[in-house]
Amino acid sequence: MTLVDLALYFGLLSLISVGGMPSVIPAMQRYVVDVRQWVTPTDFIQMFAIGQAAPGPNVLISGLIGWKVAGVSGAFVALGAMCFPAAVVAFWVAGVWDRMKDSPWRAVAQRAMAPMVVGLVLSGGFVLATPGNVPDWRLWLIAAVSAGAMLATKLNPLWLLGSGGVLGGVLL
């Protein structure tokens, strides 16, 4: 019942994916690599790379995982499960949020979420750059270079991904 498992787990992750895909990458990796052993740690970072190199929101990596695990139907199920619950929340909250425009709770909630998102997105980057939980200075170096270049320049991220590929070809 791979498809049902995928749908349930990704649907659950969708609901807690504050900060978007980066935040849930560690949980996704844990589930499909460590718990289910559907893919290997290096498979995972390669799928992520393909997702980054294509256009579109990075949530598409969930479709890739689904595809790898259960073919084309897996791709649709995984992508749908990752998107739909969060979309329903957004649909509903947008109305509430507008009505709460002057409520102090709105500011309290917004201030509370910000540091969480920072911590979770940071975790996503760290876990991705450490496949299989084994530190590799070469991957950390590539990640650090691209993070630094992103902060220091206004280059399209594709250039940074491309440079990462070159560095990977040379170092790895």
Binding site: S14, P55, L60, C83, M116, G119, L120
Partner: protein, 181 residues
């Protein structure tokens, strides 16, 4: 800049988002801005920024939420669905095609190294994004506690996200209410 015309019908909305999805190499948000604010003038820049700001803190992909919210505003639930389908249609086909193509070459060591390098650079982009989002919080000790707590729990302790998010949200909400954030 101020005379904006929202999309007139669902087709126009769909085609607009199809264009965003198809062109969005390297990140969707800049393209969403270019198409909706600059080219088609569906929405003002200020309105766009405010909607994105709200969506950043909801679960789900930022751009996905933004499009669902805008689709709803213009055409109700039909708008949300049309927008979402338009946005992912082309990229989804791209991703599957790339993956199928790559699976033929994945056994070549050099190709693998390059792709893993791309992945590591992508991880770096997440780290850069986190630093960007974190800069305005740098002088708030409470924010450091929450952010570093999440990082240690998830990345080092490997605690399940299903436990980390509710606990962190409760702590952050408490700190925020006590004006520590």
């Amino acid at each position: 800049m101020n005379d904006v015309t929202p999309p007139r019908n669902l087709q126009e909305l769909f085609v607009g988002f199809l264009a965003i999805g198809a062109r969005s190499f390297g990140g969707v948000m800049p393209w969403a801005y270019r198409v909706m604010v600059e080219e088609r003038r569906w929405i003002t820049a200020a309105d766009f920024t405010e909607t994105v700001g709200l969506c950043q803190f909801l679960p789900g992909p930022n751009i996905g939420n933004t499009s669902v919210v805008l689709g709803k505003r213009w055409f109700g639930w039909r708008g949300s669905i049309v927008v979402f389908l338009g946005l992912v249609a082309v990229p989804f086909a791209w991703v599957l095609a790339l993956a199928a193509f790559y699976s033929d070459y994945a056994t070549i060591p050099l190709v693998r190294s390059i792709v893993i390098g791309v992945g590591a650079a992508g991880a770096g982009l997440f780290i850069g994004t986190a630093v960007k989002l974190g800069r305005p919080l740098a002088r708030k000790p409470g924010a450091w506690v929450v952010a570093m707590g999440c990082l240690l729990a998830v990345a080092v302790g490997r605690v399940s996200l299903l436990a980390v998010v509710p606990v962190a949200a409760a702590v952050a909400f408490f700190l925020s209410k006590a004006n520590k954030l």
